[in-house]
Symmetry: D2
Subunit: 293 residues, 4 copies
């Protein structure tokens, strides 16, 4: 919290999307100015295909509950004039995140490390796995509650209810599938729309479905990749947040691809989660707008 005109100061991120028409930026900037806000970073994007305008603004202002309420009311008024979807987050408040994992724990370990050293501004609410705690014996989970929810054909609906209940009880705002290898049902996917990030271990749309590294090896590609996307009912078709690749060669076995892939998965998932936590990602139909840092 830095000083802001003799007052306690806060930093906020505002995101919005609405049908494009003249005056949006002026209305927002003027509103923030009248609220004594100082814009320190802003990005806009005008999707000329759909006519939708997207904006993200980071600004500092007084950390004063009354002032904040007043600002929210003013933003509400602007939003209703322009038919905006909008969010406003105090950047000092860490987002609550539920982490899910299956047997391969490299993404989980990576996210926990980045959280521990302060790189990911989140508050892990729970770790949910379909393998028991001893599978992750070497992981220091600190105070984060661990939940073992094994999934079979028979208990899947039940376990998903339990998961959903856990999301609600923990007030989790984001669910991260850190190589969680169970497919979520359509209904749970719908409930978690825009709030659930998955890492798929291929450069989508290539090699959807199972064993993508084996598919890649069989096809003889010269680069392999990973894709972080929001989960939707349509498997491996959700809006893409981030992708990356690495070079492979004819001498790489499927096991080598799996090994190289772990590095790609880790960095792609952590970047996607970081962008989400930093309010850089806005849904745009089946695609995303990702404002770069």
């Amino acid at each position: 919290m830095t000083d802001h005109g003799g007052q306690e100061a806060a930093t906020w991120t505002l995101t919005l999307s609405c049908p494009n028409r003249p005056g949006i930026v002026a209305a927002i900037a003027t509103t923030l100015y009248e609220a004594d806000g100082n814009i320190i970073e802003a990005q806009q994007f005008d999707d000329t295909e759909t006519g939708v305008f997207f904006m993200r603004v980071v600004f500092t202002g007084r950390a004063d509950a009354e002032r904040t309420e007043w600002l929210r009311a003013r933003l509400d008024a602007v939003a209703s004039r322009f038919r905006m979807n909008w969010t406003l987050h105090d950047r000092a408040v860490r987002r609550r995140v539920l982490l899910m994992v299956s047997k391969f724990d490299h993404c989980l370990v990576d996210l926990l490390y980045r959280w521990r050293i302060g790189e990911l501004p989140m508050l892990p609410t729970a770790i949910v796995a379909n393998h028991p705690r001893e599978t992750y014996a070497h992981i220091d989970m600190g105070d984060i509650p661990f939940h073992y929810l094994p999934v079979t054909r028979d208990n899947k609906a039940e376990q998903e209810e339990e998961l959903w209940s856990l999301v609600q009880r923990t007030n989790s705002e984001l669910v991260v599938l850190a190589r969680y290898m169970q497919v979520l049902s359509d209904s749970l996917s719908a409930r978690l729309s825009g709030q659930c990030i998955n890492i798929h271990h291929s450069f989508l749309p290539g090699f959807k479905g199972a064993r993508p590294y084996h598919q890649a090896h069989a096809r003889g590609v010269k680069l392999i990749g990973a894709t972080a996307h929001y989960v939707t009912a349509d498997l491996d078709e959700g809006p893409i947040i981030e992708q990356d690749v690495e070079r492979v060669s004819h001498s790489d076995t499927p096991d080598d691809l799996v090994r190289k892939g772990r590095d790609i998965e880790r960095r792609v998932l952590s970047r996607a989660v970081r962008c989400h936590l930093d309010d850089r990602v806005i849904l745009n139909g089946t695609k995303t707008v990702v404002f770069g840092d």
Copy 2:
């Protein structure tokens, strides 16, 4: 030119920098709104170290001389209130560019090709070389005047005057040193400040000076690179616009590095020129702000 409310429409790029304080974005956005401008893209950057604020706005508006004059006057008023440096360019008007080359012509050939197919929105005013026209026998220079200005220790000052005169006579707004291997004098560098882009064939600050690929080979680096920067009196120390690298190995000879380097130089220089032409680059002391696309 698209339609703009029944009028002929134009698209403009506004760039500005000034000491940061609240109200800048509001003032600019409101001014553009009052001029019937519609913001389609905008980026801001607040340099918290120096307290300088940078902004780039692309907007559409009526292509009407009177209206434009009125807008310029209003922007002048805002600029003087906030002590802004600012530029406003009609995006339909191509920038005038003078190209310089020595023996290696791969960057020149590349820039001309990109210009010819409409990828680089520029108007080449002249090609200046310190080798005669026959050195470039295979290059179709179209209607671009070619000037042979060989440089020796004795005639350097004279030839630089001729070059400067040519820049002025052709109203060139940008000079591109496309592997032009003569060092410009301090005084000419100063005159061309912020208007002259060079490509250095190393990843600066590594391997300044002569024969950087041979230096890189001798040091045994595993990546080589190229750097596009504005020319200053301080050789190879100018503000960096763009850099890129490529992997090399122990088996690459200096000649292999030269070959791989050509590809890096081409893409780094063309990206830097493109960014400059698109008003994405703003000087920030000895550094640059480059608003991404």
Copy 3:
């Protein structure tokens, strides 16, 4: 040609593949040693899935017809013992290459430039286009014969016969489809098996077929790519030689992707052609072995 024991010297590239079993390297190395050859570079690959062994050797030796004949005979004997496919090329002899192009000429221009400055060790035998010569008015084709072979549904078989005849008359060893947008027939693909390289403007296996950049834009991927592969009857399924990608963002229009894609296509195709000319690529069923440089 460097000196080789007081004799004129030559440099050769030998490639081979055969079922793996002990003694292959020893047999080859001993044969070359007995022929006074000096190995300066060698790579091996053992495909443990198929049990096939691949090898590429660069060696210097006397440039003496009799000696070469003797070496070929010896290699023949070794090859028949190990059931090898093998090739032996004098590296001073440039490979004969027929280039094909449609409307977009960036790959052709790039290949010709690299050829002209000596970067690609080939001898262009002909340029074949389905657009007339004036489409490429700005390209200096030097002495390379240009052939206009427009293709319609009706004349396709006929024009392919003409093309095949041209390949034979010019003794072309390689055909490069430098953004040639006509699909070759199954029979021509079969005739050119392993001798015809195509550049597909997507990161295969994603976005096969028409308008891949538009497909990529619609899917919202964060990287786009290009793929160079040998042509087979199965469209976009041929053995991949080289691939690369570049980062794109939500703000890139399909036209931006086309522009960024040109750079990727150029470098992917030229690398693939270079690898082929340098005998670095060996077919391995539906895949390739590419020995790196």
Copy 4:
């Protein structure tokens, strides 16, 4: 251990370097063949500048002590004929590695994770830190002994003796400075020649010495990098094993560079260690030969 002609089989890596002259590959390949070895991977490099030849061979053979002794004797004979330096390692025997760390533990955590899941074929013999054990409270070090060796101006020589004694007592074959921030003395550097890998947090030769990310920020570079190299008495001048970079922008603060740098450091160091453990790195004066995988 796979079957090898009814016998227990082993896989070996042989590396060698010697003055180049005809017959090296033949002599080696014949020797391995006579020892019933089957070459499954081999790479050669002829440094034409220095006339030194480098070779790495992976082969399978009988895991039989007598046979191995016989092979070593034969290789000794070949080596003395060609004046070779050579090493032969049973690939099933993990190399003994001592890890050193200071305050920032991301590289250590990464190496330990890769070791734990079997990605790095090493046996950690000790973790040495100049900070106490509680600094690394969250790290599960398993059975690896931890040694706290704080270094001051006064005790440096003494602590280095302790370290050297530890290296010897533990039979460590490699020391990894995983962001260990103390400069080793000339004498210790000399003792550990070719056996000590450091990670420097810049793209050398740029930004040697202290606070390289702050130097990079001040210079305004557009990419930052990291370099893994063997430690020599000449600080930041040791033979480079691996380097990599990542894109940064004007909006990245020094803290952002530190964060992005952690990812680069991790992957560069782990790749270098992996290459060393896999006998892919051979010293070539002040440079390295790194045979790719």
